[in-house]
């Protein structure tokens, strides 16, 4: 059975930390108390997807690093408005480039799927408020 409370093994975090340490423009990675931090769910998803792909498929991390450098430089050469800057937006752009270069996805597939997802109405399945408990386990005999 699926373990609900699965925690990453002790050696995973240092390994992922070491991948983060060698990322370009490291000082721009959002952090909280020194730890890599995320503001949005999609950011951690994009991050985790990239690390998982690297570990499962074994492509060199340098390949992603180099896509990320390109994506950031491309941004910098076109604009300077830091209000519009987002590390993980550039991250996602780099991942998209890498995935296409590797032949995992085509640009067209990505555009089509993105549009399909955007066209979905949000959480249609669970919109009503549930105002009573769904389960109650009464106190036992010792009560």
């Amino acid at each position: 059975m699926q373990t609900i409370n699965e925690r990453p093994s002790a050696e995973t975090k240092p390994r992922v930390d070491s991948l983060v340490d060698v990322l370009p423009f490291n000082d721009r990675i959002p952090r909280h108390d020194g730890e890599v931090a995320f503001d949005q769910a999609w950011e951690i998803r994009a991050f985790a997807m990239t690390v998982a792909l690297h570990e499962k498929l074994g492509f060199p991390w340098e390949e992603f690093q180099s896509e990320l450098i390109t994506a950031i430089k491309r941004w910098e050469s076109e604009q300077s408005d830091l209000e519009r800057w987002s590390y993980y937006e550039r991250w996602l752009a780099a991942l998209e480039e890498l995935a296409q270069a590797k032949g995992w996805v085509s640009g067209e597939e990505l555009e089509t799927r993105t549009q399909e997802i955007l066209d979905l109405p949000p959480t249609t399945d669970h919109h009503h408020a549930v105002r009573d408990p769904v389960a109650v386990v009464p106190a036992g005999p010792g009560a």
Binding site: F38, W42, A48
Partner: protein, 210 residues
């Protein structure tokens, strides 16, 4: 003629997309890769669990610690959690209601979203991966005590357990009991004891001795 968008148009493909669009792009990528068998979503879940604590139950911890130290705030939180959180500057979700469930000596609350992963993220940050697993969604309802034990929370038999279903319209979080032995503690010290698991109701707050 007035333009609604008077900023300089960025070069195509380089604009700062909205978060909704970026979220959709990330989701699109993931769903295609998973569909093609290039990567499993469990592998992505695993990697995201490495930093998931950094996506912020810190905000919720502030809310709980304040409720522990300020009885008037506590009353306002229990009356209308959405408003009380806004008071502290947390919120920003439109038309959404949050309820704080008050744990007592005799009643313990636990939160689940039985259908998907509705979660009070303005307060608790990102839901942990397990929150959306079918195993949690079904077992939280069938065997809440068993689930709590897996998280290390062994409640006395004398406590009734109530399980609440979060939905997109109404999201719950738990106001745990303030641990004994913290009478002289400051709000900041107390904050450090509040865990995400305690606010979901599957785990306890940290012991002040630890």
């Amino acid at each position: 003629m007035t333009s609604t968008d008077d900023t300089i148009q960025p070069v195509a493909g380089l604009s700062r997309h909205s978060d909704a669009e970026l979220a959709a792009r990330a989701k699109a990528m993931e769903s295609i890769l998973v569909e093609k068998g290039i990567i499993g979503s469990d592998a992505i879940d695993y990697m995201s669990s490495v930093y998931e604590n950094e996506v912020g139950p810190q905000i919720g911890a502030k809310v709980i610690a304040k409720a522990w130290t300020d009885p008037e705030f506590r009353a306002r939180l229990l009356a209308d959690a959405t408003k009380a959180c806004e008071e502290l500057g947390f919120g920003g979700m439109q038309g959404e209601e949050m309820i704080a469930l008050e744990d007592t000596e005799t009643v313990h609350h636990m939160v689940v979203c039985t259908l998907c992963s509705c979660y009070p993220w303005p307060v608790l940050g990102l839901p942990p991966n397990w929150y959306k697993y079918p195993a949690y969604r079904s077992r939280a309802v069938r065997d809440p005590r068993g689930v709590m034990k897996e998280f290390g929370l062994d409640l006395p038999e004398s406590v009734e357990v109530r399980v609440w279903d979060s939905s997109a319209e109404l999201r719950y979080f738990v106001l745990p009991m303030r641990p004994e032995g913290t009478e002289d503690w400051t709000e900041e010290q107390l904050e450090a004891l509040v865990t995400r698991d305690a606010m979901i109701g599957v785990g306890g707050v940290q012991s002040p001795e630890a």
